[in-house]
Symmetry: C2
């Protein structure tokens, strides 16, 4: 299967009318990560038989072609028909799918719509792959010399079907052997800094697959190798472990809020927050994870200075003397939230998110983060260089990472924290 | 220019490696809205001269072609070279751009990199369009029979350049005449409900351009017409006004947080929040707008019941009797936040975001929203049917809309609020 190429055809009027962006292709790319196969290109086309056929015509014999979207039961959904016509095969009604669809309607207590039978049709040569969260099955098969994988366009359905479809493609022998993968999720490092730090290892092991991704919580590093490279892969992984060190918050695909939640649960400790510039984003990130109520108590959004004084017992004189964005105020916010909510740990964030409000001394992006815990209070100053949204998100990530570090017996604030978020 | 078609070529390895999705095409589609021109398709290709040329080959004479990405100054950035080679024109170094780039480096106090001169190169036949937020200019011109618009791939740069590039295309006579547009941004209505309500007007004026978009805060409706249709457009707009009525929170492209902030500022009133299931998302949405500190004081994240009692003075007996997700608790949370923070208005949200925590009586998605204000306390119950993320977002939108309605002298909670968010 060496040299097999993946092409993606994304079908949907909504992708061409300013309504929504094609995010499914990225999901497919990530799901293929373990197979280290190159995605050649993406064609985004209208719900139109001729346009779908033209996009399929541009694929080549031997290609693995993902087609997503247009598998619904309405008139607009033409992907099944387009594929069958293009490959010159009939659409076959599968009795098992008809039964499945009726059963689904029966369970929901509503009469089946006449159009829904459409979803029981399969181009001859394809097998259906059961959809765990919706009614349109995926389709996998060999048609016109291509290995075809057809998926619904609803992101949640596509995401749920992807592993099953990839497994089915694998069974068809369409995919290169799965590669071994190592993943590092880092926090508080710029993309370029991560790349520079790991560059010597990449130079030593250039034949492994290397990638760096900037994601919400920081930068992900991934290396992959084929089975005959496993000695190299292990050696490279050990080297990367050493170089990235305590900036790594996870070696698997979980986010910083989940990592922090797991650490809190393991230690039976609780958390509270006090937010100024982030205005609730930190609390929202923590409570975005199911189960957060077991370790997270809540917090105070002290946007106005009066709230910092009244609810968090910040000293009005310190506010006056040092300003709301200062070590003193951040530390008192954290201490106040910890006491007021009776939590084991409290995180506080106060900063200038921008675009206005900056001064020469405290430019936009200046942010103080403090953490009050059983062992005392720690704080760190950051200077983020993004826009308002980005600065707030980076502050949330820095705050969560400070807690992660404390809960794993490290100083909450790395000495080079100040350099993070600056233009690389 | 009737029948002119737009094709988009999005260039970038990162778009094909699972790192990021192509959102620029959606920005282009929206920016073209006023010209009511159809985007035919999108090709996403690697930073590779042959791949870019192949995508350009698939466009047709007369097409308007947007090419985005690959205009940086590193070796990977090949879009300029690829376009020039494909169109068989030379790359010309523009002295004005060289001077602009030197000046940019001078202002930033760093020596220019030798590669940066690359950004002063322009395919003969194109004019540069100044980039207000970055170093790569846009390019517009007629090449090989196409009207070409070339934009950097960094979303903020593309967004800033888009109006200028579209103006330049317009000057070239490439675009159909700008259409008159009416926009309605609605809250608390399902997409299908909005479509059904406006369907009679659409049937009466089928020649106008109609679109519906589901967005974060609700559903947008847009109708557009050419200048000779302005009588129809006005009549249709009046009819839509009547049908959508008070569900409309804006007639221009602003979000619900901005609308609420403007209303508060105009009345000189202040706002506080009390959040349970949204965990900070409501405060984050409000403070996402610059200038929010003038009317927003902050709030209490009362995730744990003890915090509801201690900081918001919710009655422990009511919590026990009615549960945290109840009218009684929502109203006491709002009243508590209003008193505690000394605000004119306070919004409270308490609900079951899911996926766990639902019961027969209070299934996942059940959410109480309360608003305490100078005129008393109002509350409403919702039943959202999304996943955890969506339910939280819908709760934020419903809370903000309740405040908007109050500030414009309407009942905070529409009588049919209960039906909102159900499967259409």
């Amino acid at each position: 299967m060496d040299g097999a190429r993946v092409r993606i055809v994304a079908v949907g009027d909504e992708l061409l009318e300013g309504r929504t962006s094609d995010t499914n292709s990225t999901r497919i790319q990530r799901a293929l990560g373990r197979h280290a196969i190159r995605v050649e290109d993406i064609a985004v086309v209208h719900d139109d038989e001729a346009a779908i056929a033209a996009a399929l015509d541009r694929t080549e014999v031997g290609d693995i072609v993902f087609v997503c979207g247009g598998l619904g039961s309405t008139r607009d959904d033409l992907t099944r028909e387009a594929i069958a016509a293009w490959a010159k095969v009939p659409l076959v009604v599968r009795d098992d799918l008809v039964a499945e669809i009726s059963e689904r309607y029966r369970r929901r207590g509503i009469p089946p719509m006449p159009e829904s039978d459409k979803q029981a049709q399969v181009p001859a040569g394809c097998v259906p792959v059961t959809n765990p969260v919706g009614s349109a099955p995926g389709l996998v098969g060999r048609l016109a010399g291509r290995r075809l994988a057809v998926l619904p366009g609803v992101p949640a359905e596509l995401q749920a079907l992807l592993p099953r479809v990839i497994e089915e493609l694998d069974r068809l022998g369409a995919l290169p052997a799965a590669r071994e993968i190592h993943l590092w999720r880092t926090a508080q490092m710029a993309e370029l800094a991560v790349a520079r730090r790991t560059e010597p290892v990449r130079e030593r092991y250039p034949d492994l697959g290397w990638s760096w991704w900037l994601v919400d919580w920081g930068v992900d590093v991934r290396i992959s190798g084929e089975s005959h490279q496993s000695a190299d892969l292990d050696a490279a992984a050990r080297a990367v472990d050493g170089l990235l060190g305590d900036t790594v918050f996870a070696r698997e695909m979980v986010g910083l809020p989940r990592v922090v939640q797991d650490l809190l649960m393991a230690s039976g400790q609780t958390l509270a927050v006090a937010e100024s510039c982030t205005g609730g984003l930190l609390g929202a990130a923590i409570t975005g994870e199911e189960g957060s109520s077991a370790c997270y108590l809540g917090g105070v959004l002290s946007y106005a200075n009066a709230v910092k004084v009244d609810l968090l017992a910040v000293d009005a004189g310190d506010l006056e003397r040092h300003g709301a964005v200062s070590r003193e105020v951040a530390e008192q916010m954290a201490a106040g939230a910890r006491t007021r909510l009776g939590a084991d740990h409290a995180l506080a964030v106060t900063g200038i998110a921008g675009p206005g409000g900056g001064t020469d001394e405290k430019p936009v992006g200046t942010t103080w983060i403090a953490l009050a815990g059983p062992g005392g209070i720690q704080s760190g100053r950051y200077r983020f260089s993004g826009d308002r949204d980005r600065n707030r998100l980076l502050a949330v990530a820095a705050a969560l990472d400070a807690l992660r570090r404390t809960l794993t017996d490290m100083p909450a604030f790395a000495p080079d924290a100040l350099t993070w978020g600056r233009p690389a």
